[in-house]
Assembly symmetry: C2
Homo-oligomer: 253 residues x 2
Amino acid sequence: MTNESRIWTAALVVVGDEILSGRTQDKNIAQVASWLGVQGIRLREVRVVPDDMDAIVEAVNTLRARNDYLFTTGGIGPTHDDITVDAVAQALGVDVVIHPKARAILEAYYETRGGLNEARLRMARVPDGADLIENKVSGAPGIRAGNVYLMAGVPGITAQMLDGLTGQLEGGLPLLSTTVGCWVAESEIADLLRETEKAFEGVQIGSYPFFREGKTGANFVIRSVDEAQLQACAHALEEGLGAIGRFPVSGGI
Amino acid sequence: MTNESRIWTAALVVVGDEILSGRTQDKNIAQVASWLGVQGIRLREVRVVPDDMDAIVEAVNTLRARNDYLFTTGGIGPTHDDITVDAVAQALGVDVVIHPKARAILEAYYETRGGLNEARLRMARVPDGADLIENKVSGAPGIRAGNVYLMAGVPGITAQMLDGLTGQLEGGLPLLSTTVGCWVAESEIADLLRETEKAFEGVQIGSYPFFREGKTGANFVIRSVDEAQLQACAHALEEGLGAIGRFPVSGGI
């Protein structure tokens, strides 16, 4: 098995009462998922948990053990409801310490913004042994503790932290995808989809129906790590749709 | 303990490779969360899992056991990648059967749409003993199997199914919330937040910072099942902000 054929996986724990209450529409799942795909890492599972120590610890411990990487978003700010650092430290069985470089970054950042108070210093706390992930927006860094990557809850800040990590994580072949759309009820062509998928080893076809302008359609997303297999499968599906008088739309609708 | 003081909880399993790949931005978490809140049921945990039998079964069995209700979204359509019914049946230890009423609904729906083929009949399959949840949009019903509620992946269809369930589920007191906004760095007032929360029994304050128009602000979301406590806490927080020369914005920014 070459290194390239190994599949690298990640999980994500979204920490936040505001997501579970429905107040805030999560944007970090899609953002982290897309970024991981480009790194050649597959997002295998996401858990959204409340701002609750036991719930975070359980999710972190289960998911870090069975994935190459675990990301968290949320709960690393300066207020009383920010407990992700404490929870990850507890999960890892280490103390929480002040990271000297994080302290220096925050001191510099807050020099012209009222100074470093006790709450702000909370953002320099890390699980013992952790490294920092740079954040150009708001000073407070992200944190890497073992295979756990702690990111912000605010999507724009997480974007900066992911940017700082780009190319740093080992991954495998990226999962490629292409889409074929068609104005057809997926239920009319379920057999064609199943048989086409079966004919191409290592290829998955996902079927995503929609209703627009009073009409039924679907996008068929074809995924593979092999570009040639991907294109051959898409071609076969388009031929199959054409053969029953349905017009396929390359790239999706 | 009166029935009203019992807390009713739910979990949600989002089934879908398309969410984990980042292709599709999930809308069902926020939708289900908001709907549950109105029913007096708290969403405690969400898991997003791939279109994989073992992953769905594990999530369903863990979450149905520790919550009053479990919802799933996705994977109940007519194509080969729709396996949620099979996974829930396996989790419950029952067979998959054709529900006669679901079959009749689909026969009527497809009478003028090309007839009921084998793929469409898949949407009449339910875990043995299950009931149907009406869906006025696209014929194929949602499913209730024990305390598990199977909903569509397409958010507009799930909305219809939730509408059909409104008022049907037993819940407790709804968790009320009110928001106080302020153009302040949350790190400046972390102590005020902590102390205000502590002063009001059963009240939680969440702090949600943002950056807009080059300025730092935050919304403080106060939650309680007790309207009087909620308002008293919001008032105290507004007073506290005023006392340090910060202008609170009732209702949030």
